[in-house]
Symmetry: C2
Subunit: 246 residues, 2 copies
């Protein structure tokens, strides 16, 4: 963990600062409800201008790591506000954040013509456009956690294989490394449903058990729909976190 800002680093300075400050918080050098050095002091310490300091602090404040009080100072948030909330994560990343070991069992992988509702979500107008349909049972600490159906919209020549999905990597990471597609934003809805016979069997719950249904449209860095994904979570195991502001 570097502790100085390097002007020659490829990363912007405010971003290096974010990492440094997160490090101070995670390592408990700066403790909850304690003030961190003032903006003018940070200017001196890291040799960057106050504007740059503020850019870093603003982002950390939005992410819930810090809070500010006009005229008093900038303080470390209590733990319960520190979760990286409203952050776009894959199932894999989500589980790791919760301290669970993610895994997955492939149920199906095929290239299909999308059903009308999926085509609409992905903004597909070309009748011949096909999408990958990926069905996976998702596990956390080796217990069934959710049933995921993903529709991936790729370009000509971009292919996904069983082997790709086998590599326990996050799908998001795969998309980035293989196709340079970076998930940057998603619109998500959550609602309640009950398990069908088949779903119940896969998730190992009684038929009719309550489930949490998440539907998500994922956008790439080009602001094009990249994936439409449904996850049916076991109602007894999954909890969703959000932070709201006004």
């Amino acid at each position: 963990m570097p502790s100085t800002v390097d002007p020659n680093n490829i990363l912007p300075r405010y971003y290096q600062l974010i990492n440094i400050i997160k490090g101070q918080i995670d390592s408990k050098k700066w403790k909850p409800h304690e003030p961190i050095p003032s903006e003018r002091q940070l200017e001196e310490i890291y040799n960057v201008s106050r504007t740059t300091i503020r850019q870093a602090l603003d982002i950390l404040t939005r992410q819930g790591y810090l809070y500010r009080e006009h005229g008093r100072g900038t303080f470390v948030s209590p733990q319960k506000l520190q979760k990286g909330i409203n952050e776009l994560t894959s199932f894999t990343e989500d589980m790791l954040k919760r301290g669970l070991k993610p895994a997955s069992k492939n149920l199906n992988l095929e290239l299909i013509e999308p059903p009308a509702d999926v085509a609409a979500m992905l903004d597909i107008h070309d009748k011949n456009q096909k999408v990958y349909k990926i069905e996976r049972l998702r596990l956390a600490d080796n217990q069934p956690m959710g049933l995921q159906t993903s529709y991936l919209l790729l370009s000509e020549g971009q292919e996904i294989t069983e082997a790709d999905l086998g590599t326990s990597k996050s799908l998001y990471r795969l998309l980035q490394e293989k196709f340079n597609l970076i998930p940057t934003e998603a619109d998500e809805t959550l609602e309640v449903t009950v398990a069908s016979e088949q779903e119940a069997q896969l998730l190992q719950v009684p038929e009719g058990s309550p489930l949490l249904l998440s539907e998500r449209i994922l956008f790439s860095q080009f602001r094009r729909p990249l994936e439409f994904v449904k996850i049916l979570y076991r109602g007894d195991r999954y909890k969703y976190y959000a932070r709201l502001t006004r």
Copy 2:
């Protein structure tokens, strides 16, 4: 709707700019996927520095009104991304946004010693601290939508009456007008549950029906816990929206 930035206005200039730009978008003068004037042009138009322009554009981008493309310009977001998502709203405001008429039926209002879990959520250490417990059946277009249990932590002398709740106003608005307490942030969890006999009766669903349980800790502008509120939503009527970024 003012269309110039007034340096003497009490509102900061970037905030005035936000309102002006939102106005241009809402009135369709600037249309989805069209570029808005460049930052240097906006400097000229509104006579404020580029930093100030960028502060406004950054916020509007985060709120989903605009998107930026490096080297190309700043563009108006398509409608579906324009919902004020992840915004902290009361039940009343939430329903109005969905185009539904909110209403409520008071079931109970009392001043109690909070149960231990609620006291913990509200960060109460004083054994004698009492909180208001408010139970209400929430309606949308005159149909049962949710069952709300709210624990309000007020100071000595701050009182809530049945009459206050009768005024169909948002509780958030009431807190602001009566006590100058401004809800500014909330941590929310969502999970699935099933209706007990009593809940089922009030919500007019069969016992055991799936429900969406929202639990929220609301913080005031002083960053103190102000309310702990649970809402049991009818699973067949309520859907939750979120936007995620990375």
